[in-house]
């Protein structure tokens, strides 16, 4: 759980000014790498190569002249949306304050960038508690002021790092079928949804409305969940 807390702070520091919704039109697409989204430039080049190879083959082989439709390997040229879907209602109360606090003191709780990087290293490389304690006991931490001097204080810092942690509450219930009593644990599913949709770290990768995409030849393109029909149908019936 603590890995994403570290990660989210990283991303907030980078993308503090980027609060606009992703629109998937125009230049933004070109920045998207390492995705299977249909507009991945690397993929496109590879596909075009194979497609041109096929065309050459067809010139040589007269039996294959009846191939009627070659897929147009372009990014979606036509996009259809439901007007008003995913429209924001207003600002989140206290959001600018939270953002300002985060950008003013991005290493909050940790005394400096070095301090944060050390904590990040400990967490990411899964250093054992005893090793962290030994690190400080042997004086490897140096003379710099550290905000944490043991595995315990590091853990305490991590626990309060997540600004949305109040959504996470475990509930406990027990069920008794007459012969056995079993205890089980669960979270409120709505709070989990709130937590996920609130994550600033995902803000460049969140969509709010369905979309229909077509390529140049008018073929429908399916990629992500919001480009399929199910979402469109459900949202459409909600609106009407």
């Amino acid at each position: 759980m603590h890995l994403d807390i570290v990660l989210s702070l990283n991303v907030i520091a980078d993308a503090a000014s980027c609060t606009a919704r992703p629109t998937f039109v125009g230049d933004e697409l070109e920045n998207m790498t390492d995705s299977d989204y249909e507009s991945d430039p690397g993929l496109e080049i590879a596909d075009i190569h194979t497609a041109s190879g096929e065309i050459d083959d067809m010139h040589n082989d007269s039996d294959r002249e009846d191939v009627s439709h070659l897929p147009v390997l372009e990014r979606p040229s036509v996009q259809e949306t439901i007007p008003g879907a995913g429209r924001p209602l207003g600002e989140v109360a206290g959001n600018t304050k939270l953002h300002k606090a985060m950008t003013d003191d991005p290493w909050s709780l940790f005394s400096s960038e070095d301090d944060f990087n050390l904590a990040s290293l400990f967490v990411r490389s899964k250093v054992a508690k005893s090793q962290i304690n030994a690190y400080f006991a042997q004086g490897l931490g140096g003379t710099d002021s550290r905000s944490f001097l043991s595995a315990y204080t590091l853990r305490q810092h991590l626990d309060v790092l997540d600004p949305f942690r109040e959504y996470f509450v475990w509930a406990e219930a027990s069920i008794d079928d007459g012969r056995h009593a079993t205890t089980f644990y669960y979270r409120n599913i709505i709070d989990c949804v709130c937590y996920l949709i609130r994550q600033v770290a995902y803000s460049s990768d969140i969509v709010y409305a369905p979309i229909r995409e077509y390529d140049l030849s008018g073929e429908r393109l399916y990629s992500e969940m919001h480009t399929a029909d199910w979402w469109w149908d459900i949202q459409g019936c909600d609106r009407s």
Partner: protein
């Protein structure tokens, strides 16, 4: 709209101290693009519940096993009723949620998909392991004509059927837990 995606699988942990198992249920939302949603480092999948593990079958008699199986199914249904109970009022009426871009939106969280293997689907939906969890196809027709479109399961009918068999003393399972 916020499509909720659920995931679950029963996991065998150890053979020692009498076969321990865990049964985690996870959830994520479809609004997150798949390159983030599928990235383990970004932790977009949350642990929603740890289901109770039913006790082992005693093997005393076929009748005892059958009773145990029935109890297990009832327990599972009760637990899911409880865990998914907050969704019911919210899916019908709109809720305002804070979004990642600092704006508030009208949100309709709807449970849209459940990712599980076949054995898990069969266990969750209380069907025999030879029947299809998605559509109404008889077991002897499984793997039949791929072009034929089978009717998807009509869950309303199952619900009505289940409600008729509901023991009368309590109105709902949620009430059972709130006693």
């Amino acid at each position: 709209m916020v499509p909720i995606i659920g995931l679950s699988d029963q996991t065998h942990l150890t053979n020692f101290s009498g076969d321990k198992k865990a049964w985690p249920v996870y959830m994520t939302i479809g609004n997150i693009l798949s390159r983030t949603r599928n990235s383990p480092a970004k932790m977009p999948i949350l642990l929603l519940a740890l289901l109770p593990i039913p006790p082992k079958f005693t093997g005393e008699s076929a009748r005892a096993n059958e009773a145990q199986r029935q109890t297990n199914a009832d327990t599972l249904r009760a637990v899911f009723d409880l865990v998914l109970a907050p969704l019911q009022p919210v899916a019908q009426e709109e809720t305002v949620m804070d979004c990642a871009d600092g704006k508030t939106c009208l949100c309709f969280p709807i449970l849209s998909a459940w990712i599980a293997d076949h054995a898990e689907h069969a266990a969750l939906q209380g069907i025999g392991s030879k029947s299809c969890p998605k559509c109404e196809v008889r077991c002897e027709e499984l793997g039949g004509d791929p072009r034929r479109i089978y009717e998807t399961r009509d869950y309303k009918r199952y619900r009505e059927k289940a409600l008729r068999h509901e023991p009368a003393e309590l109105a709902s399972i949620a009430e059972y837990f709130q006693r």
